[in-house]
């Protein structure tokens, strides 16, 4: 039985956050449009005689993305017509870039924390084009809204350099974080502003051939990306093993059934008949302009990760996790600013408890009921000894549920840690007196009883006993028993 290696390439379509559309002055903020077909004009609805003119800002934003992906910004880029018919494509062609993309020959490192170490994934190109209208299917007909038609789209194409689903996920995560950091795309996949397409093929391990691939379109979540590529890899491997051949085709992902499905309709290979767009001029971007753009780049995730390691004494892995999502890195820094506790401790709470709650409840990091300042306050309460870690976890849960501050919750529920030596000594003494058998076991050498005794103290104090003080007192008391 041959072992097969996946070969994955990703195409990412990112809408750019400009005010107006790619080729006309209609507002590009279609998500805010209260009504369908209101952000339209002869250009973006493809009326006869209308002509496109390039949006300057889209070029600027595309240059920033290209630089962040370590691409060469080509000195000349030009547009081309990609010809095909579809009701969401007003002109019967899409204005895109073909022979002369804006950026090319870039790369991104992924899976830095894997055993094999970082992998470099090639970015073939990044080019500009226009988005299509929105099509809503209703059984025997469809309804079209042209508000989205003409919105600027940046298509980022990777080399088929990914050989695991994890690599693909990490690459996609990192590209998304870059787009969010640059402020050119919200990364909101549910809203469709960021879309993935995966090209998948398999080959026997050790081979360097590129076999027939399928294209899985319109993956609109990381989950879909992971599941669809994994499924497709399996499907192709099994197909080949059983003597079949992979057909080049476009697939969709059926989330409900967990399978990829060949798209219905004509199977002819696409002949887009590309030719240079005669209504637009070539665009020249000189070195000075590229340098200026580079100087204007904000701190990108890679650089920010390095700074977190340096400034906050985090491990590279910890820093990378925080930077996998821009909002998370922002949250962390804001919390560190507000806290008196060390950054490492803050990170411990964020990467652990906070993230767990956020993921479980499916919350939006940018709109949490627990803003960074409050988390900082919580961490400080624990570090300062007011409450212990267990209590802290409880309080955090309550903060999510009620939206109250940690101080309020601690006060209301009287959760302050009992650190008073005298008070605790009373409890410790009582516990030992109540459990002579266990004490005897401990003194006879059964060390595990110690934890059990600690637990009893915790129970007796309803979890408020300061574990550190308890431990000291318990150790002392037991030592006294050994050597009265």
């Amino acid at each position: 039985m041959t072992t097969y290696e996946p070969v994955i390439g990703l195409e990412i379509h990112a809408e750019l956050r400009t005010h107006s559309k790619m080729f006309c002055g209609c507002s590009a903020d279609y998500a805010s449009a209260p009504e369908p077909n209101t952000l339209i004009c002869p250009v973006c609805t493809g009326l006869p005689g209308a002509m496109p003119v390039v949006n300057q800002k889209a070029i600027e934003q595309a240059i920033l993305v290209g630089l962040a992906l370590n691409c060469t910004i080509n000195p000349t880029n030009a547009f081309a017509r990609k010809n095909y018919f579809y009701p969401d494509l007003p002109k019967g062609y899409q204005i895109s870039q073909y022979e002369h993309p804006l950026a090319s020959h870039g790369w991104l490192e992924v899976l830095e924390d894997s055993e094999a170490g970082p992998q470099r994934i090639g970015v073939t190109r990044a080019h500009l084009e226009e988005d299509t209208a929105k099509l809503a299917h209703h059984g025997d007909h469809a309804l079209v809204d042209f508000n989205r038609a003409g919105v600027p789209l940046l298509e980022i194409v990777s080399e088929p350099d990914m050989h695991t689903v994890e690599a693909a996920l990490d690459y996609a995560t990192k590209v998304r974080a870059i787009l969010r950091t640059l402020g050119v795309n919200s990364g909101d996949m549910e809203k469709g502003v960021l879309r993935f397409e995966a090209n998948v093929s398999v080959r026997p391990v050790g081979s360097t051939a590129l076999n027939t691939r399928t294209e899985i379109k319109n993956l609109n979540s990381f989950r879909a990306l992971a599941r669809a590529t994994a499924y497709e890899i399996e499907r192709q491997a099994h197909l080949i093993e059983s003597g079949g051949t992979v057909i080049q085709q476009t697939m969709g992902w059926d989330e409900a059934h967990g399978v990829t499905v060949a798209q219905r309709g004509k199977e002819e290979a696409h002949d887009y008949r590309y030719f240079p767009e005669p209504d637009l001029t070539p665009l020249e971007i000189d070195a000075a302009r590229v340098d200026a753009a580079r100087a204007a780049l904000p701190e990108l995730p890679v650089a920010r990760t390095q700074r977190f390691v340096k400034d906050y004494a985090l491990t590279p892995k910890e820093a990378r996790l925080l930077n996998s999502e821009t909002a998370l890195a922002d949250y962390f820094e804001a919390a560190v600013q507000a806290a008196m506790s060390p950054a490492r401790t803050v990170n411990h709470w964020i990467a652990g408890e906070l993230l767990r709650s956020v993921n479980e409840k499916g919350l939006d990091l940018e709109a949490l009921p627990v803003p960074p300042g409050r988390l900082a306050a919580l961490v400080d309460l624990v570090t300062g000894g007011t409450i212990n870690a267990n209590t802290g976890r409880e309080v955090l849960g309550e903060m999510f549920a009620s939206g109250k501050t940690p101080e309020t919750i601690v006060a209301e529920k009287n959760l302050s840690q009992v650190s008073d030596q005298d008070a605790l000594l009373v409890v410790v003494t009582q516990i030992l007196a109540d459990n002579p058998g266990e004490v005897a076991k401990y003194l006879a050498g059964k060390e595990t009883v110690f934890q059990w005794l600690m637990g009893q103290v915790a129970r007796a104090t309803r979890g408020k006993a300061d574990p550190k003080v308890t431990r000291e007192l318990l150790e002392q008391a037991l030592a006294n028993k050994k050597h009265p």
């Binding site: 002869p42 609805t45 493809g46 009326l47 006869p48 005689g49 209308a50 002509m51 496109p52 003119v53 390039v54 017509r81 010809n83 018919f85 579809y86 009701p87 007003p90 002109k91 019967g92 062609y93 469809a142 079209v144 002949d271 008949r273 590309y274 030719f275 005669p278 209504d279 637009l280 001029t281």
Partner: protein, 491 residues
């Protein structure tokens, strides 16, 4: 005085002196147009209401003396490929039979600002694909000089209308001779400007790289006045030129003595009707008489111009016509279309004529995978050589003289059987558009009772020079003053 016989200049003089009103002028033009169009079929749509409203506004302006220009109050019509807000625009195609644009082409706006009065839309070959106006989906326009003959194409309606005095000037469009050849067949003056000189926003595109909007009129001066109003950069057309627009009328009166006129030998090779050649030779002597130097020049790649032109036309037109799909405007056929592909197939099957279909398919062919290099790319390269031919020639001379067609107007139906034969009649006019250079078509005589046209071709942005030479010719001759015998029921 019959107001419909006035040139733009003559009408303007009377208007500013308040001896004539725009309303009178417009009413006369409309009346004559409605009457004669029964025979001529130059118009697809009349816009009487709009015209009268514009005429009234023009009269108010004239009364106030408020930024009055040469075109204020002057009636005209536009080829039906120019978008006119609220006025049906069809490209003489069934697929746009009921399309009413919600916006004006930039040139239409500019003429509106200048105070001109739109009386209607002219018939053309469907989507500009043709050289005779016989490919209109509605009806063929007739040549006012002989109603059994074609007016030329694709701006056939515009040329016929101006010749017959239905409007003082026309706005046409030239992709590969479409202004010049019908101007020649109908004995009017027409200009194909430098590509990019006049903005294309609102022009229903045929060949985006070649399409040039231009004026047709009774004389050079009229064409100059129109170009003055419509030329200049438009931020909505990325290909429109930034170059400043000169005062065309100012430079026109300069004498042409000492200017050099080139006669491209390839344009006078065999195959020209003897009467046409004779008229051209007479014109050359005329220019000599005006003090111009005559030189023979060569445009060595001329024999490839037709192939370059048509190949690139097919390619770009096939893409430009893809938007006609029955979804957002125009004809939507196949009432019972089960799916959207059926909608596309039926709509385009019913809506496009055979010539349009032919060209769209050939366009897809020459662009398709495996053929792009051999056809499209090759044609773009030879196009560069055509440009170089003109540039080299203009290093030696100031303008070129050539026929606009090897023959005079042919009979309706004569060339319809074989598309290639029709394409070959474009041989004199197709090289200029791929090269982007301007050309002015002028009446220069008659052959067997039918008008003969000639063209002056100049380097990029030399319209003022072409006007100068053309004006000098028209000052010394009167071919352009002759009118077709269309009044009084003559067949």
């Amino acid at each position: 005085m019959d107001p419909t016989r006035l040139t733009v200049r003559e009408a303007h003089d009377l208007l500013v002196r308040r001896q004539l009103s725009s309303l009178e002028l417009t009413r006369a033009a409309l009346a004559r147009a409605h009457a004669l169009d029964e025979k001529l079929h130059a118009f697809v749509t009349f816009s009487d209401e709009l015209a009268l409203e514009q005429a009234r506004r023009a009269d108010e302006r004239l009364a106030r003396g408020d930024s009055v220009g040469p075109l204020t109050g002057i009636p005209f019509a536009a080829k039906d490929c120019l978008s006119t807000r609220g006025v049906r625009t069809t490209c003489s195609s069934k697929i746009l039979e009921n399309y009413v644009p919600p916006y004006n082409a930039t040139v239409v706006d500019r003429l509106d600002e200048a105070g001109a009065v739109l009386i209607g839309k002219h018939n053309m070959d469907e989507f500009g694909m043709g050289s005779s106006c016989e490919n209109s989906a509605f009806f063929p326009t007739r040549n006012p000089w002989d109603l059994e003959r074609v007016p030329g194409g694709s701006s056939g309606g515009s040329a016929a209308a101006v010749a017959a005095g239905l409007g003082a000037f026309a706005l046409g469009e030239d992709t590969g001779g479409s202004i010049r050849m019908p101007a020649g067949f109908c004995n009017v003056t027409g200009l194909k400007p430098t590509y990019g000189r006049v903005p294309r926003y609102g022009l229903i595109a045929l060949v985006s790289s070649f399409d040039s909007i231009g004026p047709l009129g009774r004389e050079v001066e009229d064409c100059a006045a129109v170009l003055q109003a419509i030329a200049g950069r438009d931020p909505r057309d990325a290909t429109s030129l930034d170059a400043p627009v000169p005062d065309y009328l100012a430079g026109m009166q300069k004498p042409v003595k000492g200017l050099r006129l080139g006669i491209p030998k390839e344009y006078f090779a065999a195959g020209i009707q003897p009467g046409v050649e004779a008229a051209l030779r007479a014109a050359i002597r005329q220019f000599e008489g005006l003090g111009m130097e005559i030189h023979e020049v060569s445009l060595p790649h001329t024999r490839y111009a037709l192939a370059v032109y048509y190949l690139l036309l097919f390619a770009e037109a096939s893409a430009n016509l893809a938007r006609f799909d029955g979804v957002r405007f125009g004809l939507a056929a196949g009432q019972g279309a089960e799916n959207v592909i059926d909608l596309f197939l039926q709509t385009r099957r019913e809506g496009f004529g055979p010539e349009v279909k032919r060209r769209i398919m050939l366009g897809a062919y020459v662009l398709s995978a495996g053929y792009y290099d051999a056809y499209y790319l090759k044609a773009q390269k030879v196009r560069t050589l055509l440009r170089q031919d003109f540039a080299a020639a203009f290093g030696q001379v100031d303008a070129l003289l050539a026929p606009v067609c090897p023959t005079t107007a042919f009979k309706l139906g004569e060339k319809l059987d074989d598309p290639l034969t029709m394409y070959l009649s474009d041989i004199h006019v197709v090289a200029t558009n791929p090269a982007g250079v301007p050309a002015l078509s002028l009446p220069c005589g008659f052959a067997d009772g039918l008008p003969v046209g000639m063209q002056l071709i100049g380097p990029q942005l030399s319209e003022d020079r072409l006007f100068q030479i053309g004006h000098a010719y028209q000052a010394a001759t009167d071919w352009h003053t002759l009118r077709p015998p269309i009044d009084g029921g003559a067949a």
